[in-house]
Symmetry: C2
Subunit: 199 residues, 2 copies
DNA sequence: ACATTTGCTTAACGGTGTTAGATTATTTAC
DNA sequence: GTAAATAATCTAACACCGTTAAGCAAATGT
């Protein structure tokens, strides 16, 4: 009887529906307000059946991250295949990575734990810029000889901040990597960028 | 009567107790499982009084972030004051920033939205490394002439990843900054690091 | 001594993730 | 075709969450 397969196909379909519904909700309302009952509403079932397809809510998130990684790998691969020169290849791949992050914002957030919890209110917090301003000033002074344009200093600052914040994030999320290597990466990067400032 | 002041001081004290209790819970159990009732338990009150000191849960988090920024600014400042040479100053300041992030892990997570939601399970996900491996290989090829040591390639990879991930995070969290500048930072950084690979 | 304010608690509302039990629909067996 | 068995789904509940309203009891002002 082919009905077994038809039923299996239907099961797979609602499994996909659950994932799609979850992603739709997140796109509309953010990760914070994703709930099992909302997913159930969207697929026109009640909440408990979701547990026939996923162990729990985290199971859904985990499957979505998995899909995110697969999509990312695909985009990076096609970028790679469009170049032969190694340096060009590498640049294209990183740009593909970058583009993925913004094309699939929600997935990227999930994959790398970038949270936006209470960020509207954070804007009106002067303390948030105390440290930044100090660093900004020093960068400006280093470049002073050349009367740097405002946005050039800004770019240097963000370059610095990105690399440090990126390293930190990676270490906080995938905690407990090689501590010594991190320190070397950090110092290398800082020295490199400082040298690069004066180009 | 000085009792007014004594009472005011007591109020300030329980305000601090609330913040301390919250941070303690987070240190022990993570942000996910911080609840008003747990805070209340720890300060030996019931949940509703917390609302006499903070508008809501987000208010507590916001005050903790504020304190985080102030501490960070302090550490960066003292780092700055210990050097005169500008380049050394800048390096020390970034290292202070780095150290802050790990000394006050929980605060840093709060301040910059680095979430660790469901990360234990993510380790056992082979798809997570598909894209990484491809990029890793290209870096290795670029450096091939020099028979690079394993950990040197690794360092380069993380340097790349950090800067891109950092830039992305910053843009996802403080969304909608200058798009053009971001692209320039990105390309600059990539080109810079590629050049730097062959040193 | 009475009235008022203050500090704090209990009870509740609507929401969450999740589980157990009842119910309905579908398939299987005779 | 009807009865039994199985699958699919729902309702109800549990324990928790953030938050608010009502009430009590002690301290205070007069």
């Amino acid at each position: 009887m082919g009905s077994k397969e038809r039923i299996a196909r239907l099961k797979d379909e609602t499994r996909l529906n659950i994932l799609d519904a979850a992603l739709d909700i997140v796109k509309d309302e953010g990760w914070q307000s994703l709930s099992m009952r909302k997913i159930a509403d969207k697929i026109e079932y009640t909440a408990p059946i979701i547990y026939e397809y996923f162990a729990n809510k985290e199971g859904i998130l985990l499957e979505l991250t998995r899909r995110g990684y697969i999509i990312l790998a695909g985009e990076v691969r096609t970028a790679m295949q469009q170049h032969t020169d190694l340096a060009e290849q590498l640049e294209a791949m990183w740009i593909a990575y970058w583009n993925f992050a913004f094309k699939y914002k929600e997935l990227y957030r999930l994959m790398y734990g970038v949270d936006t919890n209470c960020c509207e209110l954070k804007k009106s917090m002067p303390e948030a810029e105390l440290a930044d301003d100090m660093i900004y000033d020093v960068i400006e002074k280093i470049m002073k000889d050349e009367k740097p344009a405002e946005d050039l200093v800004c770019r240097k600052f963000y370059t610095f901040w990105s690399i440090i914040h990126g390293l930190i994030s990676i270490n906080l999320v995938n905690k407990g990597r090689d501590e010594e290597m991190n320190q070397r990466i950090l110092k290398d990067a800082i020295k490199g960028i400082i040298k690069y400032i004066n180009d």
